[in-house]
Amino acid sequence: MSAGNMHIKLKVWRQSNTNKGGFEDYSLDGVSPDMSFLEMFDVLNEQLIEAGTEPVAFDHDCREGICGACSMYINGRPHGPLRGVTTCQLHMRSFNDGDTIVVEPWRAEAFPVIKDLVVDRDAFDRVIAAGGFISVNTGNAQDANSLPIPKEAADDAFSAAACIGCGACVAACKNASAMLFVSAKISQLALLPQGQAERSIRAEKMVAQMDAEGFGACTNTGACSAECPKEISMVNIARMNREYIGAKISSTAV
């Protein structure tokens, strides 16, 4: 059982229907290094409730680094200082006693703030709805082993499919580009034989929707991949560009 003895100062973005947003300062004692970052926020919120102040709203659900809900911009980095780690899997042992930590929501035009640290990421769902699938109705499938897929292709597709859709890539990018997210899905399906039939139209439609949502352009800085909690590779962006150019050359649609 870890006794909490860290002292932490927080600067947290607060915003609501009636308040256009700004930082509030808080101070927390008794923080344990074994606490997760979100558990530290739980303690803060209990403290705020006791004092009769509204707790800080933030998105979270699995707290296992897989659902992609948590989304805090910590000291200028999405999900904080560690590589390959979501906010919920970040622990207070990564900070020092007495630290001041600045916490903001994702900042991007396509992700409007709903309240405090909670943003609206519906744009991602719409990009997937535009083409991020294989059109196969239930019942249409053949026996799964009738289509061998080289292990390497399956593994690469899996690596791209590991994206949790949190939006850190957008938050990390100075242009708020969604290329890493979109390219991960396009890559996954382009790498698999099942995805071939719709390969071109998929790339075209998803890119068109991405642009319509107001995400910025990609200037190959690489911040997205560096900050991605699942370390999705930049190779996907290169692959997507190839897919997209190929699709445009032969395009009949969009």
Partner: protein, 662 residues
Amino acid sequence: MATSSSLDAKIPQGPIETKWSKYKSSVPLVNPANKRNLEIIVVGTGLAGASAAATLAELGYKVKAFCFQDSPRRAHSIAAQGGINAAKNYQNDGDSIYRLFYDTIKGGDYRAREGNVHRLAEVSGNIIDQCVAAGVPFAREYGGLLSNRSFGGTQVQRTFYAAGQTGQQLLLGAYSGLQRQVGMGTVQMYNRHEMLDVVNIDGKCRGIIARNLITGELERHGGHAVLLCTGGYGNVFYLSTNAMGSNVTAAWKAHKKGAFFGNPCFTQIHPTCIPVSGEHQSKLTLMSESLRNDGRIWVPKAKNDTRPGNEIPENERDYYLERRYPAFGNLVPRDIASRAAKERCDAGYGVGTSKLAVFLDFAAAVDRYGHGEANKNNIANPSKEDIITWGKAVVKEKYGNLFDMYKQITGEDPYEVPMRIYPAVHYTMGGLWVDYNLMTTVPGLYALGEANFSDHGANRLGASALMQGLADGYFVIPYTIGSYLAKEIGTGKIPTDHEAFVQTEKEVKDRIDKLVSIQGKTSPELFHRRLGQIMWDKCGMARNAQGLKEAIVEIRALREEFWRDVKVMGTTTEFNPELDKAGRVADFIELGELMCIDALTREESCGGHFREEHQTEEGEALRDDENFMFVSAWEHKSIENWELHKEELIYDNIKIAQRSYK
């Protein structure tokens, strides 16, 4: 509490092997023109809900789907790690539909329904086909074919997986199918919406009241059928492996509107979770059962041995599962593995600072895999270091994300020292009672996935929840719903200005207003914690009559205190997670009471339900088939008042026996 006559599960007649195929070829159909005029509400878009919503839309029904997260892709199913079962027999190791059926019934300690379980085994293979076709990147062998591993309670390799992220890959597959329909306009998706009640008109379910979680607005949605795919209620224990938002509210509201609750006390405690580290702990993290393929579980032979695991010599270790259950070893079912861990810790052999942990050790697997790699690459005299390096690489490929997660949470490197693990609440076999059609006791109201009382009896085998969720959504409901909707083609659009909608909306609003008006001193979170403590202490891994009776009294008092002293900050007309939480905790408190009543009434031990008064001399669960071979289905009458209905379980195809894994 009163008890009454038995319930009819509407299981088709005939031999077990042909029940489902005969049912499918005789179920009434709805023609495409009529389907367009029938609306179906799907609450929940995890594996069960997403697969159902997409498939029903493909068939031509008009579908509205709801989830409380900001995207359907974040449903709790996303967190499933280890795998999904299917009786494909790709490994040629003797698997078959019958064997999956048999393992599931036996694993559930003979408290599941034969007809449903056989159907589940029959469609299991189709699920894998469907998922692969939709682009789910399952693990493969070098020859390009699908790879399998073993899970507990079986002696074959029938589990399909995608590293330790199987749920993620399956859900993203189902989600992409759902989004395809959303894009085509055949499914209308309502994210950040919470269903707060069902609306019944003339004895049939006709819609729901949902709250827009961003604006706080209440909305009425009408439908010819309502499907609850809202997941399990393990969070009644506060600490569990479930996602923070998982809750019982949708099922509980349905229960209070007439749907019977089946086997509420059947809870699964998973043996391999990261132990509690401090009092601020908000949730527990699972270490997938797949790890028991390669990890060996042990405690020191001496009490209070404080040496680090890797410094305790081989002959001073007690591999207690291998010792007690030689036939299944580390792969005994979960309930058995959990109780065995508790037994060792209670006896004083636990490890770590809390002494509430056992070791899960990969050293032997690293060594075995290391030698395997050496052989594969024709290296004759490999050094010990090389063996370890290669072995670790193989382990990393199989379980890398789990090892990383363990390290992140505990600060210890499981490649170097054995993991410390302890049982934690994980899954609920109980849920809304449904018949063979997956319909609850309210006509038109269905329950799918973990939300129903399901096919797992008193204990679920690993990798079978994902299978059941997708079976329900992809392959069962699309057929069974036809038998009800075929009679609804003349109903016309459901009018949401009907008195029943007005009245139900008012009840929902009154309750919300009440929650924010109390302005007491205690946060919903603290009430939740206190409830969890009662449930874990008295309705957890081991239960007895006295404890359960005390728990019932304590929970009633907690409910009373909640409605007097809860403090909910913020208003009802804005994004307000505290308010959402308060409503869920209030429902958990009522559920907790029913779970204890159910556990008290079931005077036997079976699967995950272990009554200390009923055990064999060796400490195994002692069933009472003569008196308890039934599903408990509870009808809500009024506050603190339920009536018990029984569904007798009939085993025509499996000989019931004491479960043995020795």
